[in-house]
Structure formats: C-alpha cells, structure tokens
C-alpha cells in the first residue's frame, strides 16, 4: 500500500467543480479522440468484448425493457440498454402522458414497469396505482389504498416518503409508513398478504423499497432519529411470515453473527461488539436502521445493506464505536447470517447514516480482477470495497469534506478531524458535509459504456451544537441543534460523474439546490436526473452537456426510470413532487425563521418556497 491515507483535499482542479468553456471544449476533443480510437483501444485491451468495468451478469441480466425494481437490477446499476433515445435526439422528447398521484408530499419512489403495466406508490397514505400502458393515456387499471394509520406521519423523521415498490412472481410488494409490508396481485390489485412488522409507538416507520431475493422480501425499519433499534427482516414472499430478523445492534446472536462472520478489519472483530461498544443498554435505543438500499450478488449468494446512524445524534451519550451502526453488512439471504461488516463511520458524530446504494461491479484493480462494491457514502467518500471480504480498495472524497481527514487503508478507519468533534454545549461551525451527507439516499447510476458513476448529491456544510436529550419512546432522540449552510462555491447541489478506475471525477455540474433525485443512464449515452426547482434534465453521459430539459409542475426528488412500452418505443418516467428532508420546508410548510427546522435543513432551503410548490405528478416522455 503505497499510500496509507488519502487526504480529503478535494479537487484542486477547478475544472471538476466548475467546468469553464475551455475545459468543456477540451473534453469534447478528448471524447472525439476516444470515439475515433475506440476500436483501437478495445483491441489493445485484454478483454475485447466486455467493458473494463461491468456488473456481474447474474446480478444484471440482459435488459428486457422492463423496470421491475427501483435499482433496475440486483447490481443496482440503474443502467438501461435501451438506446432509441440518444444524445442526438433526446432534445425532441415530448410528454406522452401525465398522472396526478393525489398526494402533496415528497415523491421519492421509482415507478415500475412490468409487461403492459406501470405501478406507482405514493408517499403516505401509500396508495398504489396500476396504469395500463397499452391504452392511450395510460388509464388506471386498479388502485389499492392500504389506509395506514394517520398517526404514523408524526414519527416519520423527514417527510412521509416511500422509495418505491418491487415486483416479483406476479406480485407487487410495498411498505406502508405505519409499518406494514403488503403483497398485491399485480394483475388485479387484490391484497394477498399484509404483515405488520414495525411499531409506530416506539417510533418505527418504513420508508424503503423492499427487495425480493430468492422468494424473500427484504425490509428494514426507519427511526434513527427516534431511538429505534435497527433491523432488517426477510419475509416469505408466499405468505409474508418472517423468516429471519437481523438486528444491527445488540448481542451477536440477534445480529446473526456466527461462525461464518469474517470481517476484514480488526476494529470489527470481537464478541458481542453490538453491546460492548455502547454504554450499558444504550444499544437498545441506538439506531442502525435499514431504510436505504440493498444489493444482491447471486454468485456469492450475499446481500449487502447499509446501517443507519447511531442514536442519539449527540455523541456524548454513547462513547464507543457503536457497532454496527453507520456501516455495511454482507449477509446470506437464506439465513440472514452475517459474512462481513465494515464501518464507514465508527462512533458517528454527524448523523452519517450508512444506507446509500451499493453498485456491484467486476473490474481490474491494480492489475487483478476484483469483485467490487462501489458506494458514494454519506460521509463524503467514494468507497470501492472488495465485496467478497469488505476490504477497502479506495476511498476518495467526491466533494468538500472537512469532518474527517481521509480513510486509513491499513486499519480501514475513518480519520476524524479533531476540530470538528461535536458534543454537549459546544457549537462547532462549518462542518462539511452536513447531517444529510455529501449524498443522502438519492441513488446514483453506473454505465458500463463510460465506466462512470453518475452521482446526484449535495454541497452543504453545517453548524452543530449538542444538547441534552431524554429518551421518551416514540418521540425524537436527537440531542443536536443543527443549522445548514451552502457548501464551498455556494451551489447547494452537484451532479458528478465519477471515473471509478481513475478514482476522480470526470466532470461535475453545479445545481442551485441539492440534487435530491436519483439518476438513470442509458445505452444511448444519456443521463437523466431532476432538480428541486422541477427541471427534469437529460445530459450527455460522456461530457455532462445539457441536452434537454423540461420544467415539471413541482420540485423533483424521485427516481427516473426508462422502459420499452407496448408499442416497442422507449419511454422515460419520473415522479415530480417536492418534499423529502431537503424539501420538507415546502411539503411540511415549515417556518424559515427557525434555523433548526427540519433538523437544520430549513436554514439552507429558505428560498425553496419561492421556487416551487407541492404536488405529486407522474411524467412520462417519449420521442415524437
């Protein structure tokens, strides 16, 4: 290891945050050269037909034009092979049809398309709609209203969102805010089973999209701001009974840590660390929730899921590493047994949940083929892990980071910045990134054609002050006053294309507001994402040049998808509708005069109320 620590000095090159015209021109020439030389280059490389970096075939089967899970496939690439819409003609995109979700809260979900039907699930009250794509205007085929308990809205930390449903074996699986997982007949919308697995009276909600793996529906709980002990459960897809439950704090047997558990780093080795790295009993209310993304590698028979922040945010109440929070587990999907664990942020000081997406890729790393897992993490680093062992191969900041000084690749440990340690009664200023991270849940997309990861993210910093907090079940357990401010440069968001092999950004676009939407990239070399003002954008996958944009009715924080319609043509779909943590000022009508509103996010979003209004609408686009 020639470089044990990678310093957090981000991007000396101004070109990567700001792209002056000269740079763009340069890139254009570069791309042109690349294009001309492409056959030559591939001929020269050792594997002529397969791209240098690609998802494992078993986790990313050939594209069938459908979109059956939010991440597109188990490798979570959010890449579509469809290429009818391309860099040249995307400027002609037109609205094919729209549909109001009837809910004025943040629309974070990805629509699904299976066969001739599109499925969408709304934020609370979590209505599911099936739209018939084979008929003009896509009329409603059926709708299902689960009628969740209204009281659940009070214990959802950051708007009453859901991140979508999943399709498998003729069924639609989705979660309700009040803690139910429900299976519907995809054809008729009739409920098949309904499992009540989370309890709002202790602050549990469910906001993640389920993932269906080998006949099991994987679901975790939210509640990291309510002192909720995190878990992930596998429910039988047939009848909904709980097959296994893995907690992310507490004794090994409840974390499903057994003889197979082989973490790579010493810091994660030992007995019952989920108890001993906490003050007595604190692990019972210690967070580590699973509300983000799960990926699955069929070859290794492993699922990968992150764990949320430790509770409370005020770190003085929980000295220790707080296992197994703010980390990532590899587990056997059949039994839940843990295979390895890696902790992105031991003893988290800033609400750095570790729940973001993990993109599974196979590539050469320093000459050797490796099975890797790529994770743009909340703490600001772009991690490349060996997914068979949990070893960190690379951890480079993909934006401004000063809360830590890099990752020690020998020990795997994040190097804290002693100037940014939070605690009771102490105001620490200018901590970057914020509690919402350099990137929050909003998923990135990977194109094997470019080898680039397209990352929608934030550019924010914050002041923090630890305050006393009491644990009262079912109420917040945070203990931190937070106020956020724009990051360096003043642009609050960015959309960055990260060159995984080169460990650096290829290009980055500035956005005024945080980019709180997901991304999708296609074989037509077009990347789609949305902004909180409501623009739905198409940019070139190679250069980042803006190719087309359309102003939707509300801010976009959803996940774009693309599919082949019954008419054989390519469509692009996105839910528009402001909200989520970043947009709560609008969807929750919060008061901008309080800097700490919405856990400090409102301070940096004061002008959002003048930029957009609430309202959930599906937009679907196609070429004329």
């Amino acid at each position: 290891m020639k470089q044990a620590t990678q310093l957090a000095a981000f991007c000396g090159d101004p070109a990567c945050t700001d792209r002056p015209a000269a740079f763009r021109k340069h890139l254009g020439v570069l791309t042109a050269t690349l294009l001309v030389c492409a056959p030559l280059l591939t001929a020269a490389s050792e594997a002529p037909s397969t791209p240098a970096i690609s998802p494992p075939a078993a986790a990313a089967p050939p594209d069938d034009g459908q979109w059956a899970m939010p991440a597109k496939n188990y490798a979570s690439t959010r890449f579509s092979d469809l290429a009818e819409i391309n860099e040249g003609n995307v400027k002609n995109l037109q609205v094919a049809f729209t549909f109001s979700t009837g809910v004025n809260k943040g629309q974070e979900a990805a629509p699904l398309v299976v066969g001739n039907t599109m499925y969408i699930v709304t934020p609370f009250p979590n209505v599911v709609y099936a739209l018939d794509l084979s008929k003009p205007g896509a009329p409603m085929k059926w709708k299902y209203e689960p009628n969740p308990e209204p009281a659940a809205q009070g214990v959802a930390c950051c708007d009453v969102v859901t991140r979508g449903a999943a399709f498998a074996d003729g069924r639609i699986f989705f979660n309700t805010l009040d803690g139910h997982t429900i299976a519907l007949d995809a054809n008729s919308g009739q409920p098949i089973w309904n499992a009540h697995i989370a309890n709002i009276n202790i602050g549990e909600t469910i906001t993640m999209a389920p993932l269906v793996v080998k006949g099991k529906v994987l679901v975790g709980n939210s509640g990291g701001e309510m002192g909720v002990r995190g878990w992930v459960k596998a429910l039988d897809a047939g009848d909904g009974h709980v097959v296994w439950t893995a907690y992310n704090t507490g004794p090994d047997k409840e974390v499903l840590i057994g003889p197979d558990f082989k973490p790579h780093y010493d810091m994660d080795k030992g007995k019952d660390l989920g108890v001993t790295t906490w003050p007595p009993e604190a692990w019972k209310i210690g967070g580590g929730n699973v509300w983000g993304w799960i990926s699955y590698d069929p070859d290794l028979n492993l699922i990968f899921h992150g764990t949320g922040n430790p509770g409370p945010w005020n770190p003085d109440l929980r000295p220790g590493d707080n296992k197994w929070t703010s980390g990532i587990f590899a587990r056997d999907p059949d039994t839940g047994a843990a295979k390895w664990f890696y902790q992105w942020t031991p003893h988290d000081l800033h609400d750095y949940d570790g729940i973001n997406e993990q993109v599974l890729l196979d590539m050469k790393w320093q000459g050797k083929p490796r099975k890797v897992l790529v994770r743009p993490e909340r703490n600001g680093y772009l991690y490349v892990l060996d997914r068979t062992t949990g070893e960190v191969l690379s951890a480079k900041p993909y934006g401004p980071v000063n809360s830590s000084k890099g990752v020690d690749l020998k020990t795997g440990r994040l190097i804290e910045n002693p100037d940014k340690l939070t605690g009771t009664g102490k105001v620490v200023r200018d901590i970057c990134p914020t509690a919402s991270g350099l990137k929050d849940w909003q998923p990135s997309a990977f194109s094997p054609k470019t080898g680039l990861l397209y990352i929608p993210h934030n550019n924010l910093c914050m002041d923090e002050e630890g305050v006393e907090v009491n644990y009262i079940a079912g109420t917040p357990y945070v203990g931190m006053n937070v106020r956020m401010i724009p990051g360096p440069g003043g642009n609050r968001g960015a959309f960055t294309a990260w060159d995984i092999a080169a460990e650096k950004p290829a290009w980055s676009l500035k956005e005024n507001f945080p980019v709180w939407s997901g991304a999708v990239v296609t074989a037509g070399d077009v990347v789609f994402y949305g902004t909180m003002e409501g623009w739905f954008k198409a940019v070139s996958a190679k250069t980042g040049d803006l190719l087309w944009q359309f102003k939707t009715s509300s801010g976009i924080i959803g996940q774009p998808i693309t599919y082949r319609g019954p008419d054989g043509h390519q469509y692009v779909a996105i839910l528009s509708g402001i909200g989520g943590w970043a947009g709560a000022i609008v969807s929750g009508d919060l008061d901008p005069r309080d800097a700490t509103a919405a856990l400090g996010f409102v301070n940096v979003m004061k002008d959002l109320k003048n930029a957009t209004t609430a309202g959930g609408t599906l937009y679907v686009f196609r070429l004329p």
Binding site: A151, V155, Y477, N481, L590
Partner: protein
C-alpha cells in the same frame, strides 16, 4: 429613634417598588382542570357560543416564570425533536400564524394532553397538568402571543431565531393589520 423609623420607612418603600410578578411555583391545582370542552373549530351551526375559559389559562399565560419553565420543558419532553425550535419538522411549525387546532391556551393544552390525529402524541399521564399549561403558554410565545415583558429573552443554546420576547405577532409579523 427617629433615624431608625425613617430608615425603616425608606426600606419598606424601596422594597415595595421592587415588587415583581409573583413566582407562582406551585399554582393551585384545584383551580381549573383543563377538562372542560375545547372546540377545535369555529364553525358552529347557528353561530359560535362562548366557551368558558379555564382559570389556569389566565394564571399561566402572561407569567415570566411559567414561560421560561415552558421553554425548558419544550426541550425536556422532546417537543423540539418534532417541532424544532418552533419552525417545525416532523410536526408543524408553531411560530407561524397558522393553527390547525386553535391557538387559545385551552386548545394548545388539549393538543398536548390528548394528542392530535395526524401524529401529535398524547402526553396525558406523562406531563403533569401544570407543566402542560406552562408548555402551552410557551408555545404561544413562539408566535408572538405573549407579552414581551414576560416572554423568554435569551437562549442558553445556539441562537436559532430571535428570542421569544422579540418575536412579532405571527399573524401580522409586526405590521399593523
């Protein structure tokens, strides 16, 4: 003798001048129970009837000690976790002019004691009745509905909005209506 009398007279006069608002640390719980009906709407067929006010509302409302206790309890009972420092989050903003369930002391008291359907927990049996009144008085001060002579004037923590005694009436934001 005479200078002593004069001194006493002087002292009693000065002391009288110093008299402040009473620190009613133990209000009589017998007065007012908060159990009388509290309307949640102004819509009443045929016109609104007057509702009796609660005795406690008046004794807690404009009292500096109770207001500052209310401010402390607002953090202590995790109200601030859901409503931030009045700007809102998981729960609605309490410093604005918009009220779902009414802004009277009685309405706010009922909100805290009994909860509200869309996610406001019921704190009945968790918070003593007098402290609920203190909280209600403080909640009103967040939107400028408390006399500035009584409302809290400083934070012990990071200042995140103007202090309550400088908070303009949210309905007019300091402008004459």
């Amino acid at each position: 003798m005479r200078p002593v009398v004069a001194l006493l007279l002087f002292a009693s006069l000065t002391l009288a001048a110093c008299q402040r608002e009473e620190r009613d640390t133990r209000p009589q719980s017998a007065l007012g129970s908060g159990e009388q009906p509290t309307p949640v709407t102004t819509l009443e067929p045929g016109g609104q009837r007057p509702y009796p006010t609660d005795n406690k509302a008046a004794s807690f409302e404009a009292n500096a000690f109770h207001l500052s206790e209310g401010k402390r309890l607002f953090g202590w009972f995790n109200c601030s976790g859901c409503h931030a420092n009045g700007g809102g989050g998981m729960g609605p903003a309490l410093m604005d002019e918009k009220w779902i369930y009414g802004k009277s002391m009685e309405s706010i008291h009922a909100t805290i004691r009994d909860g509200r359907p869309n996610g406001m927990p019921s704190f009945r049996d968790k918070i003593p009745d007098d402290q609920i009144w203190e909280l209600a008085a403080f909640v009103r001060s967040l939107s400028g509905n408390a006399p500035s002579s009584a409302a809290p004037s400083r934070n012990d923590d990071m200042m995140v909005h103007p202090s309550e005694n400088r908070m303009p009436d949210a309905a007019t934001l300091g402008k004459s209506p």
